[in-house]
Symmetry: C2
């Protein structure tokens, strides 16, 4: 896979030991996440909207109501910035200054376009659903023509991107290691709880296997198994 | 507490049953979160940067290196959009169309300014640390003058804000409730794991109480207890 070429927008100047420009690192972060923050300019003002997203090959996808301001603005080919940030832990150092956060973050720049072909739109919505819940697409009631029309799907090539990753223990000033202060990392993770059935769930419908022991970050592995 | 007045930027037009404009709802979300996404315009392009943040009264704070592009741009009083989104669950409906996400999200607009007074800066950094780890500020090595200079703290009044919250089971089309499809909510939550001590931790330093059974969302309660 080809690397990303750092640009004026994506070149990481400070702490560049945390910077990655290879697609593998970037896609590993994207495939482990669920929510992206999309930034765009409307009437001269910056807007940031959170949305679920998915990746197929070298493109990022997100979707929503055809009436959404964000989607209507962004499909017009205006410049967007998409940020996906995963928080892995709080880093407790011996001084306030060296406290930090362990994270994996991707910042992407580009222009999005609407997926207009109906078959293509349906196919990528299926990919999104299957990414989250392998096997569910065949179980649910099929999408109607009207629903497909009311859904906007945007797609953006992943071409201008930077990935920043911090891992590991705090890095303290050398003399501070002698202090009697606890230091280390408090790991953080998004976990799934026990599925809560809809109060109106039809009697006798079992919990699907894909919801048992659900691991949000296993997207990437599920994707690889499916490909 | 006074409510927010919806503006052209914050008026939620679709699904407005999810909209909240009271400070209590907004602050409850802000106090339960850790990471904000700050959007701003630089050279005509939108940028979105993730950052930790904290709230004091009716102001939002975030900080970083004085050399950060985001902070240097934003302290100049340019318009910013700050988004805090907490994901509470995946909502599985009987049709793809009605699948959804349970979330709590705040979108804020305003202009940020740098906290320049040294004493004030120090005080708010203490508040940030104590919000996360009550008692830690007194344990760690005090901030030096140089460190304080190298740290930029930004603050923004919380005046133009909208909060959007979705909770509860899926809402399906009436005929679909008869289908043999599992429906409900898969709850998601950010949880802390077991603290990992720095390999260079001085022998005999115990794990602080504030890291035992750590509950990330208990910020708000800790804040209330401290006030």
């Amino acid at each position: 896979m080809s690397d990303f070429k750092p640009t004026a927008k994506t070149k990481i100047k400070r702490l560049n030991k945390r910077a990655h420009y290879d697609r593998q690192s970037t896609y590993a972060v994207l495939d482990a996440g669920l929510v992206a923050h999309v930034g765009y300019v409307f009437d001269g003002h910056p807007y940031v909207t959170s949305t679920s997203y998915w990746r197929e090959g070298d493109r990022l996808f997100w979707h929503g109501s055809s009436a959404s301001r964000m989607l209507k603005t962004v499909r017009g080919g205006v410049p967007v910035c998409v940020n996906v940030s995963l928080i892995d832990g709080l880093v407790l150092a011996r001084s306030g200054f060296h406290h930090s956060v362990n994270y994996r973050a991707v910042m992407m720049f580009g222009q999005a376009e609407a997926v207009t072909d109906e078959a293509e739109k349906l196919k990528t919505l299926e990919a999104f659903t299957e990414r989250l819940f392998p096997g569910r697409w065949a179980e649910i009631r099929p999408v109607t023509k009207q629903e497909l029309k009311a859904t906007m799907v945007l797609s953006m090539p992943i071409e201008e991107a930077a990935t920043k990753i911090r891992t590991g223990p705090p890095v303290d000033d050398e003399p501070d290691y002698e202090l009697d202060v606890w230091a280390g990392v408090l790991p953080l993770k998004v976990v799934a709880g026990e599925p809560v059935a809809d109060p109106r769930l039809k009697a006798g419908v079992p919990l699907p296997d894909y919801l048992r022991g659900y691991d949000l970050e296993a997207y990437g592995e599920r994707r690889e198994a499916a490909e």
